[in-house]
Structures are given as structure tokens and as C-alpha cells.
């Protein structure tokens, strides 16, 4: 009789299957019960995640038109060849997604603009699982309508537990006013416990650049400015440490004399496990020069060092931050082509990708995370999901009515 693979100890089978990419694992689930149990076990899911940790690709979020569908293209890291493109099989309240972060195979999305952070979507596009976070410890304040959020994604020091911090500010989205008696409210979500927990306030801080965040050293960082008298426009880096649940302040380097454009844009990023500040000097909506300041010793303001000064040789409209030692730009020519600048060889490279409506570019690695926690979606089918309710496309009017009610 031929030997069956089942004569092997389970640890060998584990060692075999852990090497497979996610799509193969989904097929292996259908082989037999014992394989199904093994593959969907949390230990296997995290082992598979660590095994493929360095097999990253790019994920480009773009739209078909100014108000078109949300598409997510997976690109090979070195060749930039697109190997799959997903349409988000769900829509949010405004139908304009903002990609907040991509980690552990999950894409964290939220609504753009006014509703940013109110509902958070965790989506694993490889296994078509979605988790919608609609709850909040401060849900009763939602009724006032005068609030807005900043969110950051990261991990606890132990294990792979994905955590999300959400800061709720009172005020108007366009005219944020710090109200002395209404300090921001802060809560943290943990995927492992699937719950929000309030963590006190970060009184007085107001993060301004909600979209540029950097996760390093167990903390998420934003470029922020302090509100209140005498503090206006003084920028600094606000950090939130996930394990201690504490906020911190990091002074910025003196970048105000960098370049001579009419405006400067600053954002935080991570380069080789160090926190860095990208200063883009703009002139007439074109990047004239880019500086990268590296914080050599974490938390020590004196260690900020200006390490790179990059002069683009063509029209760049903005940067997408740093991915794997490459600073990424969006060019204004060739249909918003993406251009990378290698921070080791100091060379530009045209990636040959880019859409007219690029939104975000992040790294992406495949995983089975959310297999148990998420609701299964039907791939590429246009659905509206809000709080777990599936509605057909033709029921748009119903959705609008519900949306009014939820608001």
C-alpha cells in the first residue's frame, strides 16, 4: 500500500504547509478535515505570517475615475509587475476610501475626509475577509456630529496583535478648535480581544497630518501641532506607544531653512528602523527639493541628522513615503507614473506604474489573518456592507436612508 502523508507527524506537515502562499493554503483547506484544522489554527496563521514576512510586494490604491471604484493593485516589489487587482467588494459611507495602513496582510481603510476614522474597515484581500469596526467607547458623543478623528495602526511588543489607536477631537473638521473643557478622547482597539478600550486623554495635542503616520519602536507617530494660545503652528512629532498607552512628544529638527520653495510639507516615515522626517519643498505645486532627516537615536531630538538632499529631475507632485529604502514620488507626467529614489545607490528609477487617480502606495504581504474574525465576502461583487448588513447595488436608496439614521 502506498504511504499516506498522514503517517508523518503533524509537525512535519506543519513545516510543509507553512511554506505555501495563501492561495494554495485556501485550496489545501479543502483537502481533508485534518488539513483544514491545521491551516486555520491561530498558531499556523501566525507561523505562516512570519515565514512570509519578507516576501513583500507593493499595494497601490487607485480609483477608476474621480468618483470611480476603489481598486487595489498588488505589484511585485522588484519588477513592479502587477499580478492581481482587487476591487474593494464593499463601500464605505462616502465611497471614498482612505488607506490607513497595511500590515500582516490586512488593509486598514476608512472614509476619506469628514468621516475619517469613524468606521474602520480591516480587509484581507487574499482571503476575502472583512471586519468592520463601528463601535466606539464614545459612541454616545457621535450624535453631536461635531467631532473628527485621527487613527494610527501598530502592534504590541508581544506577538502580532494588531492594535488601532483612535483619537476623537471635538470641533469642526475644517476649523478645528481646541476646547478647553472638551479634551480629545482616546481609545485603543485590539484585534486579539476584538474590543475597544479607553486610555485617558492626550489633552492639548492636536494632530494635523492624519494621513502620514509611521510605526517604529512600538509606537505610532504623527506630525502634529499644539493648539491653544501661543502654540499655534509649532509642529512636533506626536507618538503613541501601544504597550504603555502613553503619548509622547518629539521635537522636530530645524527644517525651516530647508530649500526655498513657497511651502514645505513634512511627513514622518521609517527608514531602517529609524524615525525619519521627509521635508518636501514645493514651488508652484512641484517638488523642488526633498530632504530626509534621520533620528539616529530614538527619542533624542539632538540626534536629528539631515542625511539626504534630493533634487528631482522632473515634475513630482508628491511623495508616497519610504518603502524598503526607497523614497517614492508621484510624477506629473506619463499619467502620474511612480518614481522611486534608491536611498542606497542615490538613483531614480521609473517604475512604469501609476494611474491618474493614485491614492496610496504601501507594502503588502499575504496572510491568513482575519480568517476567523472576518466575514467572508464574495470576490469582485459589488456589495455595500455597513455594520454587517449586505445590500445589493440596486438598494442604494435604502442604504442612503440607513446612513441618515446612523448619522
Amino acid at each position: 500500500m502506498m504511504t499516506s502523508i498522514h503517517h508523518l507527524p503533524v509537525e512535519i506537515l506543519f513545516n510543509v504547509l507553512v511554506r505555501l502562499p495563501v492561495e494554495d493554503l485556501i485550496r489545501c483547506i479543502g483537502v481533508c478535515k485534518s488539513w483544514w484544522c491545521l491551516i486555520t489554527h491561530p498558531n499556523f496563521i501566525s507561523a505562516n505570517l512570519s515565514f512570509h514576512k519578507n516576501c513583500n510586494g507593493y499595494l497601490l490604491h487607485h480609483k477608476m475615475g474621480p468618483s470611480g471604484r476603489n481598486l487595489f493593485s498588488k505589484l511585485h516589489m522588484n519588477t513592479c509587475v502587477e499580478h492581481s487587482c482587487y476591487e474593494a467588494p464593499f463601500s464605505c459611507e462616502t465611497d471614498f476610501f482612505q488607506l490607513v495602513a497595511s500590515s500582516n496582510g490586512l488593509i486598514c481603510l476608512s472614509d476619506l475626509h469628514h468621516f475619517f476614522g469613524k468606521t474602520i474597515y480591516l480587509w484581507n484581500p487574499c482571503i476575502w475577509r472583512l471586519k468592520v469596526l463601528r463601535h466606539s467607547c464614545f459612541a454616545r458623543h457621535f450624535r453631536d456630529g461635531k467631532f473628527f478623528f485621527a487613527i494610527g495602526v501598530g502592534f504590541g511588543q508581544q506577538g502580532n496583535d494588531l492594535k488601532i489607536v483612535r483619537i476623537m477631537y471635538s470641533g469642526n473638521f475644517h476649523l478645528p478648535i481646541y476646547v478647553e473643557n472638551q479634551p480629545p478622547k482616546v481609545e485603543v482597539y485590539s484585534l486579539a480581544t476584538n474590543s475597544w478600550r479607553r486610555v485617558g486623554t492626550n489633552a492639548g495635542y492636536y494632530t494635523i497630518d492624519k494621513l502620514s503616520t509611521a510605526y517604529v519602536n512600538g509606537a505610532v507617530h504623527w506630525v502634529a501641532s499644539k493648539t491653544g494660545e501661543g502654540y499655534r503652528f509649532r509642529k512636533f512629532v506626536l507618538s503613541f506607544h501601544f504597550d504603555s498607552a502613553n503619548f509622547g512628544e518629539i521635537m522636530l529638527p530645524n527644517y525651516h531653512h530647508d530649500g526655498d520653495g513657497d511651502s514645505r510639507r513634512v511627513s514622518v516615515a521609517v527608514l531602517k528602523d529609524s524615525l525619519v522626517l521627509i521635508v518636501s519643498c514645493l514651488n508652484n505645486y512641484k517638488i523642488e527639493r526633498c530632504y530626509i532627516w534621520v533620528m539616529r537615536e530614538y527619542g533624542v531630538a539632538e540626534s536629528w541628522t539631515k542625511e539626504y538632499s534630493i533634487v528631482p529631475d522632473e515634475r513630482f507632485s508628491r511623495t508616497f513615503g519610504i518603502i524598503n529604502n526607497h523614497l517614492l514620488f508621484e510624477s506629473t507626467v506619463n499619467g502620474a507614473e511612480l518614481v522611486s529614489y534608491d536611498l542606497e545607490n542615490l538613483q531614480f528609477k521609473h517604475l512604469g506604474i501609476g494611474r491618474h487617480y493614485n491614492h496610496d502606495l504601501v507594502t503588502f504581504s499575504e496572510s491568513l489573518v482575519l480568517y476567523h474574525e472576518g466575514i467572508p465576502l464574495t470576490p469582485r461583487k459589488y456589495l455595500i456592507i455597513e455594520g454587517g448588513i449586505h445590500l445589493g447595488k440596486r438598494k442604494w436608496s435604502v442604504f442612503l436612508q440607513l446612513q441618515k439614521k446612523w448619522r
Binding site: M2, T3, S4, I5, H6, H7, L8, P9, E11, I12, N15, V16, L17, R19, L20, P21, E23, D24, I26, R27, C28, I29, G30, V31, C32, K33, W35, W36, W128, P376, P379
Partner: protein, 167 residues
């Protein structure tokens, strides 16, 4: 003069092996260090499988010894040629195993038992490559696995993961 050890397979065949070759096995290395390895070392591995294990170990040993003896000059070219040789040898080795899955599984068990991490990871990758890109039915046939799902369960799995089951 290299120290030789005698390994005894489960079907009582004796294999004379150099210490350096067999020390790749953490299990045997420990036995030698503990002084438990006097005379013949009995192993719960068949002679057919043990021959394969030793084939692998000798190839690995060969590779490391040559690298040590090399001087830097012309090393790169030599290394590249060597890499090609090793690739070729590994391909032949894995083709043989793919053809005879009984030997493959026995070898997996033996590498686990003898604690040969390099061989174990090579074989696991080999099996993973065999599984990759195949449909559940093909995988079952290849590895002689019984489909123990009830029709209802199978239906539910296809409904949920059907998108992955299309070639």
C-alpha cells in the same frame, strides 16, 4: 585518519561513515558527545532510507570541505560552478524522491528523527512545491489522502472558498 563510525539500520545493515559526515545529525552528534556511541550505533531507519540520508550528508560535507580549502583567488568562479553542480545534484535527488513517495516520506521521518535541519527543510520545501498550484482533488490523489468531509461540509467549503478552486 578520519574517525569512522558504524551505523546499524533497522534491517541490520552496517554503514561505515566518517565522523564529520554523520555529525551533521544533531541526534548522533549528541550520542557521540555523551559517549553512548561505542561500537555500532543502532538506528530506527531502514537501510534504503539510511543510504539516501548518507548520500545527502556526504554531498553537504563535500561542499563545506571544498569551500574551506579554497583560497580567495578564482573562488567566485569556482563557487558559481559548484553552485551549478549542487543544483544539478539536488534536482536529480528530488526527482528521484518525487517519483517514489514512500522513500520521500521515510526520508522526511528519518531527517526528523536524526535531527538534520537542512535536509528536513529541503524536503519540506520539496513537498510544498509539489502541493503548490494543485486542486484539492489532485493533492488527495498525489498523497493518498481520504476525503473525510461530508457532502454538506464540502459544499460549504466550496461556497466559501470556491474562488480559489478555479484554475
Amino acid at each position: 585518519m578520519a574517525i569512522m563510525y558504524a551505523l546499524k539500520s533497522s534491517d541490520n545493515e552496517i554503514f561505515e561513515v566518517e565522523q564529520k559526515v554523520i555529525e551533521q545529525s544533531e541526534t548522533i552528534k549528541k550520542m557521540i558527545e555523551d559517549g553512548a556511541a561505542t561500537g555500532e550505533i543502532p538506528l530506527q531507519v531502514s537501510s534504503k532510507t539510511l543510504a539516501k540520508v548518507l548520500e545527502w550528508c556526504k554531498q553537504r560535507q563535500h561542499k563545506t570541505v571544498e569551500n574551506e580549502n579554497d583560497d580567495n583567488k578564482g573562488k567566485r568562479k569556482k563557487e558559481r560552478d559548484e553552485d551549478d553542480d549542487i543544483k544539478e545534484w539536488e534536482n536529480k535527488f528530488s526527482d528521484e524522491l518525487k517519483a517514489d513517495k514512500d522513500v520521500l516520506f521515510d526520508l522526511l521521518l528519518a531527517s526528523n528523527y536524526l535531527d538534520l535541519p537542512a535536509l528536513l527543510s529541503f524536503l519540506c520545501q520539496l513537498v510544498a512545491d509539489m502541493v503548490a498550484g494543485k486542486m484539492p482533488e489532485e493533492i488527495r490523489r498525489m498523497f493518498n489522502i481520504e476525503n473525510d468531509f461530508t457532502p454538506e461540509e464540502e459544499k460549504a467549503i466550496t461556497a466559501e472558498h470556491g474562488w480559489a478552486f478555479q484554475p
